[in-house]
Symmetry: C2
Subunit: 497 residues, 2 copies
């Protein structure tokens, strides 16, 4: 077992000396940081509520250095936490107090774009948007587009299996990655996946995508590129009832339409963003749907007409189509700025990320309205409606311990209700440290045990990003909430099939 700070015999200074002595010969001097003022910038990722300074930070520049650092840490039993741009929202890259943060920002080269095969081979530290920028001269782009795409790295996207507004039509990271190259905790080079249709044997690529840096350290990625659509147009629909908007989403999908984006904002969120971006949103609507079509002009014209008919048939009180690209971007401006806009109306907010079957969207929105009363806190809703991926923003003041406590209970209830509706506790932000307890609710002890065994198959000593994603059986016992997955039985009205 690795030395842990929980261990009463843990001597931080001695451990640091030992680690620096082992790593200094392996890295250039500027690539090893261990003074407090150097390591403090690495103390959290985008989930700023959880902070921890690492013992040291390594910034390797070559794969040989990554392998050597991993081997050295493995020999010493020192935990290793890989880190991309630090934009994650669940604390997946939060440092370990007795561990090394392996910062991969310098792996920022685009190795090759192959327009014929429609692939890009890039290092792990390349920014998501930089791939699309490099592919643009060939009329191609990389489809998954998390809100943080200007900053987040492809390595981080793989760790969290990131999504974005386009993933309803184009898939999650998993569906857009062909191959990864990286290193095991022992520092052995491995490649998972293939540039061909499918790799033989067990699908280790799929397992590594979304594993939050707990199975291997990825250094190089081959992604699929897709053709930039000739045209995109967006419909903005107003609804006087949240239930009608939720049902419109289900009706669109049931009609065989797969929008390039399908997003919903409720009234509190619309008010917050309109004040911020002045996009001309309908402030009287209980919910607004943004529904995008992309493709050739013929395809878009035909699809927009069908979307419009379904939205009006579902009770939309108003439907506007973007007349040009400027208007389309204005329609999206509020959605894209929902998080900063929320920061202006409340001192703090907690963003949830649960996902439910689309048909239950209206149900959970009405449930959340009830929870607002129960916990005495407001909640603004913006989400990837087409995917059923909710992002409720619970508004609170972290300086008020009672509000913080109520906010946590509110969030946990949203997650439990999502699981009971047949959903999951995280759609695209990952589990990290934030949703460890919720994993106890979603998975049975046998299922969690299976995940722990898989983790051990890659990392028997448990030194790769320890304490993330998979709660220990002990932790779940302490949390004391029941596994509710099969709790569907408690909601017989939902047992539609």
């Amino acid at each position: 077992m690795n030395a842990s700070a929980q261990d009463p015999g843990f001597d931080r200074a001695a451990r640091l000396r030992q680690l620096v002595a082992a790593l200094a010969p392996l890295l250039p001097p500027h690539a090893l940081l261990h003074q407090a003022e150097q390591t403090t910038p690495y103390e959290c990722d985008g989930l700023t509520a959880y902070r921890q300074r690492p013992l040291a930070v390594a910034l390797p520049e070559t794969e040989a250095q990554v392998a050597a650092v991993l081997k050295a840490c493995h020999a010493l039993g020192v935990p290793v936490v890989a880190r991309g741009a630090g934009t994650g929202l669940s604390g997946g890259a939060m440092p370990h107090e007795a561990g090394l943060t392996l910062a991969l920002a310098r792996f920022n080269k685009i190795i090759a774009i192959d327009p014929e095969a429609r692939t890009a081979r890039v290092q792990c530290g390349v920014r998501n948007l930089a791939i699309s920028e490099a592919a643009a001269p060939h009329g191609l782009y990389y489809a998954p587009d998390p809100s943080s795409q200007i900053a987040c790295t492809i390595g981080g996207n793989i760790a969290e299996n990131s999504g974005g507004v386009h993933c309803l039509k184009y898939g999650l990271t998993l569906h857009n990655v062909l191959r990864v190259r990286g290193f095991t905790v022992e520092g052995e080079a491995v490649e998972f996946g293939a540039e061909a249709l499918d790799a033989a044997g067990l699908d280790l690529l799929a397992l590594v995508v979304g594993s939050e840096g707990m199975l291997a350290v990825v250094t190089e990625v081959t992604v699929k590129l897709v053709p930039k659509p000739q045209l995109a147009r967006c419909l903005m629909a107003s609804f006087d009832d949240v239930r009608k908007a939720g049902d419109a989403v289900a009706a669109l999908i049931a009609a065989g339409i797969i929008p390039a984006g399908l997003e919903m904002m409720d009234k509190p969120m619309t008010a917050a963003v309109e004040d911020f971006v002045h996009a001309g949103y309908d402030l009287t609507a209980e919910a607004i749907l943004l529904c995008e079509s992309d493709g050739t002009p013929e395809e878009v014209a035909e699809e927009i007409a069908r979307m419009d008919a379904v939205l009006r048939g579902s009770g939309a009180t108003d439907v506007q189509a973007s007349a040009d690209e400027a208007q389309r971007l204005r329609f999206w401006s509020g959605r894209k700025n929902a998080f900063p806009a929320s920061g202006r109306i409340s001192p703090d907010y907690m963003c949830m990320d649960s996902t439910i079957p689309r048909k239950h969207l209206a149900t959970i929105l009405l449930d959340i309205q009830q929870m607002e009363k129960k916990y005495g806190l407001r909640c603004a809703n913006v989400f990837h409606a087409g995917d059923g991926n909710l992002h409720p923003l619970i508004l609170f003041d972290a300086n008020d311990p009672d509000q913080l406590h109520r906010c946590e209970l509110f969030g946990a209830e949203i997650l439990e209700r999502s699981v009971a509706l047949g959903g999951t506790v995280t759609g695209e932000h990952g589990v990290g440290v934030e949703k460890l307890n919720s994993m106890c609710v979603q998975f049975s002890p046998e299922e969690r045990e299976q995940m722990l065994k898989l983790k051990a198959a890659f990392d028997p000593a448990g030194t790769l990003n320890p304490g993330k994603q998979i709660p220990t059986l002990h932790r779940c016992a302490e949390y004391g909430r029941m596994h509710v997955k099969r709790g569907l039985l408690a909601f017989p009205e939902l047992e539609r099939f």
Copy 2:
């Protein structure tokens, strides 16, 4: 470790008595077979060259029986091999001589079709085509369509991650399955995946799909359904040069077109199938491409026009578009009957299943022509060109040991060349027992070791479908061929990026 027939002390009769004594109280009498005349029908799957009678066959009818049988076999250390319809082409369901075949044919109920969510929940023994038939009244169907879809089961499709002619556009089984329910080797119930966008934690669903029954026994599956397109039309293009046909495939994809099907047949195959189906194929062409578009009439008209332009621009000597549904089905009739047609021109054939990056299609076709001379055997080619998934059919006479030997060498060389071109040894048929040696070529010892560890994380004693898919390190050492994955260096002209 499980008792093995290789063990000199293995007493088959005693082992059988012990197994029957343990299972008889758990199953109705008609659901437990152990006489030779009862178990012989189970001695092989679609790969008839490998045969082995199991110790016994259980045909459970309920999940409780599956769990009880697994628990009993686990306690006795008896290997268990799950079986669907037995249509697999790589011997994945070949019995173990000291083991139980768990035949799941009676799990044949369609539990529910949910047209709104566009999902079907079915038992594992439901036939692939039966799902589409049940969904048809709602205008929906299940997209992956292996050639055996009239007979093969969804459980078997999951074990092999099956594809089909539509998987270029609609994805493999992995991309069309939302959730599975099943049992571990110890008989514990587990569920992997979710009806929502993405499940939290490690992606055990993706790992189980394609794991050839080595990690768990799946009893229930929730799949995605897609809307039946309003219209489908097919182009048939002739080429006077295999290289031009291969390059046309790459050009279509590079043009941003994703055909609903994109299949190629070479001249020997065209001659064989024309003689069989009389579809009016161009017998003078060196290669024929079938290229399908589906969608709304507007989408199809626009896409067919673009496909036609790319095919002609790539040097097609003739391009015909299907004028009606009858003609479209006639175009496809030869492709769909390629395997039986081959059976008429040769006493035996061996079907390969390797997959390569599309851009190398022409290269490997020319290589295969060279190999025909080298081994003195003919090879007819039919394949999922859009996926780069080859199905070369090596024609031989199994009664001639020298031909059989040359055929095996020919097949191994195709697989090694595919791996060297950046491909894989199997696209959709699985590894089973047939391609165990080729796995040594595709994967490094570290990568195979990682797969073995994952297997052990689910099944420490190794009693779930032992001896399939993942070769032991010892076996690869005996096979004596090198891992060639990074052998790309030996083909610097291929290092396009």
